[in-house]
């Protein structure tokens, strides 16, 4: 068929530092940060559970803060620094939170796990959660249908403990 309508969307140049690597990218302005990571950069460790900001599977650290990457457009973050699940291990050594997820069996299917881990690390950095009840409340943006919450809470409490000492 004769195509006569070009794609309606324009592109913008941005620069992102992702897991320590600088990327200069031409991105379509309708691309979410999540789709940029997953589809374009093949960083599929960040998950898409709803694409609507309702599940937390897409949580990444943006300039150190946990955000839902499905709820934000990539073009809005020119110059930002992003850490995804793929960027947490240093020199082949897992981040202690990652290791604790394995040791405490804080997942089953693993699909919510990258989001839980990024969220946990973000939460610890925020320094808001002190008690078990606060951890549960402040981790409630990350759904886990497998129901690993009990162990996730233990991991976060343990990490909080570690961060205080």
């Amino acid at each position: 068929m004769e195509k006569n309508t070009p794609s309606p969307i324009q592109k913008e140049s941005i620069m992102l530092t992702i897991n320590g690597t600088v990327h200069r990218l031409e991105v379509e302005v309708w691309t979410t940060l999540l789709d940029l990571l997953r589809e374009r950069l093949k960083l599929t460790g960040t998950k898409k559970g709803c694409d609507q900001g309702q599940c937390g599977a897409c949580t990444v650290l943006l300039d150190g803060q946990r955000i839902n990457s499905c709820l934000t457009l990539a073009v809005m973050h020119d110059g930002s620094e992003i850490t995804t699940i793929e960027g947490l291990a240093q020199n082949g050594k897992l981040n202690p939170v990652q290791q604790a997820f394995i040791d405490r069996d804080a997942f089953q299917c693993g699909y919510c796990t990258p989001g839980q881990i990024c969220s946990a690390i973000g939460l610890i950095q925020e320094g808001k959660a002190k008690t078990k009840a606060e951890v549960r409340e402040l981790m409630s943006g990350n759904l886990c249908r497998c129901g690993a919450y009990t162990h996730i809470t233990e991991v976060v409490l343990e990490a909080l403990e570690r961060s205080r000492t």
Binding site: S7, P8, K47, Q54, L88, L94, G147, H151
Partner: protein, 744 residues
């Protein structure tokens, strides 16, 4: 002889991949030139499509095709070709087959484009004209047309026992009440997805979200007339499923059709709202009439079930066997009718039938216990089933009494005042409730292959799945243990249609079925190794029968004299072999037919109810499980905890709300459909009681996916009664119901 002691608590062997983001799920494979498909769904529930206007979408640069019923390729015609391994009796739904609309959100078009965003945008430009017909989606209204299906997918209601109506009438204590729960959706965190890798020779490799790669393969062969060697299905990682992956879903059909037609690789991922457009747990109405004698002996049990189904398939599940699996009663009748609606066919969802049936049964038993004036625990023990009356067989093992004992002790049940509405702290009424449950633990036929390489690495495989259940890990453990190797030396492969056949991964059958096959394959390999060992000159194992040797510490050795040994790798070396393989087709023993094989659970719950706010908090739960031998206490505990979380969802939160006007589930996202979040769970305790069973299967394990769930919802509801003195018979018990209910 069955292995007896529990397995070791080990970390998941796939844990590293999962915490680093390396585990790849069905929608994450990116072959070169990948195209993206976005599905368009109907906005009416019944009628036909008059016209689909696709021109505007097709005009866009980068849009390759819009598939509809008008331009789809020729497809198989017979029902049989569409029937997958989990299909209920009836005529399976065929995507894009013709212009008829059978349910709301029916897939009616697939837009294929070079990028996801473009496909989504193009889909928004497609317009559809319908001729609407009056749909019927109102379960309550359609109850009067309930029917008895020609075939039951699960268990058909048997003839009554004794004279239930008379016994009910004559008994001292009687209860008759109706219990309901709404439709619910599975909502695995990973949405359903299929990536089809198209190869130049016309063959396809498909990454599908499925609980059995063989099922998707069979389906694609049937529908598209493909030969077995032309389609390979893989599902190495599945982001949860809970039954939603038992049947191939429509994204598999659409992605494959597009790939074959466009001769390109195609991926289709469903959106979260589209996760409401296929199977769900069917809504049920259950009328229970229970009667007991003055001293609390059950006299009659009458269960009448009405369950939802679609217009094109008769879906039924095992809602009705539970009264006679769990209790002992001379007079009983069980019936189950279906209510046909203009919806998609329901689908097995975690503990299908058990979750529904045991909820109603256990709430009714609690009510009757109060009429009799007994503690609900004593009442259950008084009517404890020593054998399975439903099938008239003895249990292969049943440590439910021990579950009650250990659970009650851990929970502190003996301090519970039987009188409801007697415990309070601040604004909150406190209630303690319990329920018990069971789940079938039958072994199914399964195949497995074990290959030992000369470097000492063992690879075992079977076409089963790991949907988070720990299959990779426990199968590796079973293999390591059988072969006397370290866990690190073993790799287990699954999720691949080219591997030895396994049953669908569901109904808690995998540990038992595939586990037995893995063990047998390893033992078979051991026998072959012994034969080879005996061919070696000066073999220390000459003329020794297999039953006199053991595989330990990487060696084959004489049981009574372990110094007579040969290293497994040596055996291969000395015979100039790189590897040795054994394949097994494992069948349940005939002896199993003579037994009722079930796992059991007893659940104790504390709730805190704020009547002014209508809130219910589940503050404490103890779940005591008799599940045979526990292969890995660590992953096993996670499975039970998951089941408990699901119980909270069923009791208090989950409801797919049908808008009868539009004929559509109206709360179709995770903001509208509530599943438990972290803050909804507090103290959860799991106890595995010891249970030996050498009949269930050679490994003595019973499977745990469902038994941890079935009794949780009724225990919560019973605890709410104990807190408030009010009965809630319609799930979920949400804020509005607590605020409204003033019947004491």
């Amino acid at each position: 002889m069955a292995a007896t002691k529990n397995g070791e608590a080990r970390n998941r062997v796939d844990g590293y991949q999962k915490v680093t983001g390396q585990a790849k799920y069905a929608g994450e494979w990116q072959p070169p030139g990948l195209l993206h498909g976005v599905v368009l769904n109907s906005t009416i529930a019944k009628g036909k499509i008059l016209h689909i206007e696709t021109e505007k979408a097709l005009q866009l640069d980068g849009v390759l095709q819009v598939f509809t019923h008008e331009n789809r390729p020729p497809l198989a015609h017979y029902d049989k070709s569409y029937q997958d391994l989990d299909a209920p009796p009836g005529t399976p739904f065929r995507p894009l087959f013709d212009n008829k609309i059978l349910f709301n959100m029916q897939p009616i078009a697939l837009v294929v484009a070079e990028s996801l965003e473009l496909a989504r945008y193009a889909a928004s430009l497609v317009t559809v004209n319908y001729e609407k017909k009056q749909h019927e989606v109102d379960f309550e209204k359609q109850l009067q047309h309930a029917f008895i299906p020609k075939d039951y997918k699960a268990v058909a209601p048997p003839e009554p026992w004794g004279s239930p109506a008379e016994a009910y009438h004559d008994a001292k204590h009687r209860l008759s009440a109706t219990y309901t729960h709404p439709s619910q959706h599975h909502h695995p965190m990973e949405p359903h997805a299929s990536t089809v890798l198209w190869e130049e020779n016309g063959r396809i490799t498909v990454y599908d979200k499925i609980q059995g790669a063989l099922n998707s393969q069979k389906y694609l062969m049937g529908v598209f007339g493909l030969a077995q060697e032309d389609v390979r299905v893989l599902s190495p990682f599945v982001g949860g499923a809970f039954g939603s992956g038992l049947r191939p879903q429509y994204q598999l059909f659409l992605a494959t059709m597009a790939a074959l037609e466009l001769r390109c690789s195609v991926r289709v991922v469903l959106s979260r709202p589209q996760m409401f457009s296929f199977g769900h747990r069917p809504k049920t109405h259950q009328r229970f009439s229970l009667a007991a004698s003055e001293d609390g002996q059950l006299q009659a049990m009458i269960q009448e079930v009405y369950g939802e189904t679609s217009r094109f398939e008769d879906y039924s599940e095992n809602v009705i066997s539970w009264p006679l699996v769990l209790y002992n009663c001379a007079n009983a009748s069980l019936s189950y009718k279906l209510v046909g609606l203009d919806v998609y066919t329901p689908l097995d969802m975690r503990a299908p039938g058990g979750a529904s049936g045991i909820f109603a049964l256990e709430c009714a038993m609690d009510e009757l216990a109060y009429q009799v004036g007994m503690n609900p625990l004593d009442f259950r023990l008084k009517n404890y089933a020593e054998k399975d009356q439903f099938e008239d067989k003895p249990f292969s093992s049943k440590e439910l009494r021990e579950c009650f004992r250990q659970g009650a002790e851990k929970f502190g049940w003996k301090n519970r005042p039987n009188q409801p509405r007697t415990m309070q702290e601040g604004h909150e009424l406190i209630g303690w409730g319990l329920a018990n449950g069971a789940w079938e633990a039958n072994q199914k036929p399964a195949h497995a292959k074990a290959v030992l390489a000369v470097d000492g690495k063992l690879t075992v495989s079977s076409a089963t799945a790991d949907i988070g259940t720990g299959t990779y890990t426990i199968m590796s453990q079973v293999a390591a243990e059988t072969m006397g190797l370290e866990l690190e030396q073993v790799t287990f492969k699954l999720g691949d249609s080219s591997l030895p056949k396994a049953p669908l991964e569901g109904g808690s059958a995998t540990a038992s079925s595939v586990g037995s096959a893995v063990r047998e394959a390893c033992r078979q390999l051991g026998k072959k190794l012994l034969e080879l060992a005996q061919e070696v000159d000066g073999s220390p194992l000459k003329d020794i029968p297999f039953w006199e040797v053991e595989m330990e510490a990487g060696q084959l050795r004489l049981k009574k004299d372990p110094t007579k040994a040969m290293a497994l790798t040596d055996i291969l070396h000395q015979n100039q072999k790189d590897s040795l393989a054994a394949t097994i087709d494992s069948q349940p023993s005939e002896e199993q037919d003579n037994y009722a094989i079930y796992s059991h659970s007893a659940v104790f719950v504390e709730v805190r109810v704020d009547e002014a706010l209508g809130t219910v908090r589940v503050s404490r739960m103890v779940n005591a499980i008799a599940g045979g031998r526990i292969l890995n206490p660590k992953t096993a505990k996670s499975q039970i905890l998951g089941g408990m979380v699901w119980g909270v969802g069923m009791a208090l939160e989950e409801e797919s709300v049908m808008d009868t006007h539009y004929g559509r589930f109206i709360n179709h996202d995770l903001a509208g459909y509530h599943i438990p979040v972290n803050a909804d769970l507090q103290e959860l305790d799991v106890i595995f009681v010891e249970e030996e069973d050498d009949i269930v299967n050679p490994i003595g394990a019973k499977g745990l996916g469902e038994v941890g769930n079935v009794a949780v919802a009724p225990a919560i509801v019973n605890a709410i009664f104990h807190a408030t003195g009010k009965r809630f018979r319609d799930l979920p018990v949400t804020v509005d119901k607590i605020l409204e209910n003033d019947e004491v």
